[in-house]
Homo-oligomer: 277 residues x 2
């Protein structure tokens, strides 16, 4: 692969952090990165021509993720953030094996935060069908603490509800309770929001679950992990000026971009269209 990931320039590495997701949901990670690392430039790529990944097979998600991450390397990304739980669950090790760059997914940071905050050791995980079926969160949680008990549930209606903009609605509350009630009854005290769309439902979920359950937001914890990685590998930008944000999509943006922009208060500016073959 004709990519150079050489030593950083003096006074900081100005190359962008590459971030990808199956669609728009990964902007929650971008939002967290911009709060935590305001001097870093970000190149975001959303594979909206093939969104969602969450119902697709492992081999298809791996193929798509390699194509998308390779484009980020062609854009000179100094590190790649897999801002998609499905791609992190199914494709992170494939990417690590094939790409000459450091990578950060959302699963391990989320699992670390969950094991740190749980008091009774009983953790719930919600995500797409593909993420939950992969068992990636269970493996990551149990690797960190073999004593935790994990209950995981696929919630395929949440992404469509979020994309419809029904962030506060009676229907969304009912769907959430249908998914979450068995976990609450089961005694979880921590819930991992295992999909980058879900932080947009954080207010509704908090209101429904109250203080008894701590929510772990994979976007926030992923951004913290990226900051640590940049420090460890001396990849940080110089602490001067605000970093740029470049957003590219593989298909024309739809209404959900407006929803995400409003909820995240991101200024994504002009969207570039990139075709992947």
């Amino acid at each position: 692969m004709p990519v150079s990931n050489d030593a950083p320039a003096k006074g900081g590495d100005p190359r962008p952090i590459g971030v990808f997701d199956s669609g728009i949901g990964g902007l929650t990670v971008v939002s967290a990165l911009r709060r935590l690392l305001p001097h870093e430039s970000i190149y975001y790529l959303g594979d909206t021509a093939r969104v969602p990944y969450g119902g697709k097979s492992a081999s298809t998600v791996q193929r798509y993720s390699l194509e998308v991450a390779s484009l980020l390397l062609r854009e000179n990304a100094k590190t790649v953030v897999v801002a998609c739980n499905t791609a992190s669950a199914l494709a992170l090790s494939t990417l690590e094996g094939q790409l000459p760059v450091t990578l950060t997914g959302v699963i391990r940071p989320g699992a670390q935060a969950a094991t740190a905050v749980t008091r009774n050791g009983h953790i719930g995980v919600i995500g797409t069908r593909a993420t939950i079926k992969s068992g990636a969160y269970e493996r990551a949680l149990i690797a960190l603490n073999p004593d935790v008990r994990v209950v995981a549930r696929a919630c395929p209606l949440l992404v469509p509800l979020i994309e419809e903009g029904w962030l506060e609605s009676e229907v969304t509350d009912k769907v959430l309770m249908q998914y979450l009630e068995p976990m609450i009854a089961d005694g979880i005290d921590t819930l991992v929001l295992g999909c980058t769309h879900y932080p947009l439902l954080r207010p509704a979920i908090s209101r429904l679950l109250g203080d008894a359950v701590t929510l772990v937001d994979s976007a926030e914890n992923c951004a913290t992990a990226v900051r640590a990685l940049l420090q460890e590998h001396a990849l940080g930008a110089s602490a001067e000026g605000a970093g740029g944000l470049h957003v590219a999509l593989t298909d024309a943006p739809d209404a959900f971009l407006r929803v995400a922009n409003e909820a995240l208060q991101l200024d994504v500016g002009e969207i570039q269209l990139r075709t992947l073959i």
Copy 2:
């Protein structure tokens, strides 16, 4: 294109009818075709690696539709059925311009049935975002009868609810009423189910709307149009024996195939996996 669509063999044309959809929903059209044309063989291709089409742009849907329909021609399809409202709305004329085969979409047959059954000339249409945004149903309806009044509404939550298997649930009823109530208040007497998934919600919609609104099922009317086309072009199979059904998908099938199989009582047998590049 290396495709032969020559004259039918003596005693009927044994080549399959090619049917495609973005995913599994087009099996409602297959179900209708098998009831109406039991001697015909069918080759069905669902583009599950890139499903859904309903939120994507016209140019992306056209590119995908051309790739999928071309594969059906390589499978020797004698005619191609676009069993997807989004692809019919956005790509049918592209396909007609580029492929050496007769094509049947779902929009025109649905519009014909709707103008035939409406009494007060006030027709509602529900579909995906892309179908509704295209205005294809309005154009088809008004071309048939310039006096009809059309009210159209995108219902992006219905496909995910159907794929979750929530065909009869309080949540689905609430979502349906949120989408349909303004149309009812507006005085429609006919509702076009403008997405091949929606016939699976026909019982719930009928129950909610009662007898005042006639439902027009694009799957049924598409099958009737295919029968007429086969007769007109002398493409029918001989009236002996049952036709075969071959189902191929571009990604591994998920849980929704089971939902569709049960609801449609189709015996799809073994699923073939086809990769499109």
